[in-house]
Amino acid sequence: MALEIGIAAVKALVVLLMVLQLAGLLGWVERKGSALIQDRIGANRAAVFGFAGAGLVNTLMADPLKFITKEDVVPANADRLLHFLAPCVSLFPALVAFAVIPFGDVLDVGGRVINLQVAPLNVGILYILAMVSLGVYGVVLGGWASNNRWSLLGGIRGSAQMISYELAVGLAIVAMVMTYGSLDLQQMARAQGGVLASWLPVPAWGIFYQPLAFLILLCGGIAESKRIPFDLPEAESELVSGYFTEYSGVKHLMFFMTDFVEVIIVSGLLATMFFGGWQVPFLARDGFHFPGGGVALLPQIVVALLQIVSFMVKVFFFCWLQIMIRWTLPRFRYDQLMRLGWKGLLPLALANVVLTAGIILAVQG
């Protein structure tokens, strides 16, 4: 019993630290990547004994230090309690949402089989939706508690936007649940282990079954994380900085981290549901089984490591993709944003659900 609690605690800690580390690294990718796109040099000022590490010292050491040592300003007549709570309410649900995303199949340690997923919930994907919907409060409260017109406008925009896109995202996920017949992300990842057909040696990943759901979830996911082209809640050119205009120091850093953690969750979801999650093509629990008939057996620990690396590569790819989108596209207008959500993505997602149901009926019946 104590051992089991220990294993669960270690898994939770490892995943939490991985998400936080990746969020920090993404700050570096974002600043250096944007510099690359805009033909600048980017963060290169800070250095320790002349060592700048291509901006790593700047983004991973100097920036956090600056945030932590800054004065924490609370505007006059602001609701102090809610002003303090808003960044916490924003960051916490995002951090715990990763618990149901599997980062590997199983790890066999001395006869004890460890499921490489922090929380094997029967209702896994709904848990992520629940946590994301709680994250809205961070935006709403931040906007309201600051006692600032720009913040309030940002908060109102943010809540309307996140509720609107939750619908399309939810319906896209419904189609995926119908495809896999399970809400547990680990089951979904396991279902993508084979090949499409014996004459077509392509991994049976979700993207080949549900390309439309993938596009809807990608758009909706970026909109849920409120990043350009969907960053109307902060829109620097109109609202200064939207719902976190009046935040400085560590509280500002927490909103900043929430952004990146949400990017990582969207990436983890996309990788798990559409690109096999931790699956490596043709890799089963005992080693590689190539379609030509070749077999390369591997020890279990190597298989588990390969799977974890595969999952991390996929997650990092989607993080990179989202950062590239963020620095390439201009911002939507607010009416365009609402039209895309309600008249574009929502009907498409509904049609996708009906189509999926029809195909499942035709195949099974």
């Binding site: 809610l82 029967n122 209702v123 709904l126 629940a130 919907s133 409060y137 709403v140 309030l152």
Partner: protein
Amino acid sequence: MSLPLFLAFAVLMVASALGVILQRNPVRSALSLVITLFLLAVTFLFLDAYLVALLQVIVYAGAIMVLFLFVIMLLNLGVEPQDPGRLGLKMFGTLAASLLALELIAVARAPGPMPGSGMAGATPPYFGTVEALGTRLFTHYVLPFEITSILLLVAIIGAVVMAKRTPT
């Protein structure tokens, strides 16, 4: 279900429910309601009803209450002033609350087993899972389920009609 844990959450839930009616600030009241609904979801977790718990968070705490807050913020309601004029309303509220309390006491003191008293002990396998709930909903409760969905559809169409009506 462990009793001390349940009691801790129950006390918190009653406290936050009291916060809904005792706070003067509408935003803080709404937030207390969010906390109450969230703690209610935790109580569902104690009963092994994971799906109901998560739906409670997604639908009530996550969606409906955000709309409440949205409206409060949009109307920019300030702190509600003390209103001594509505004595009739207060008397009506007290009456309704006492009737409810009497009813609860009557149920608790009624002879015979308490409702749900035979359900203590281990829950059957698959209890509260999506499969079990879905099967139940689409076989035993299919008529109420469909009628509810038609009711919601009527409400949506009504909202659209009212929103589209041009001001004269």
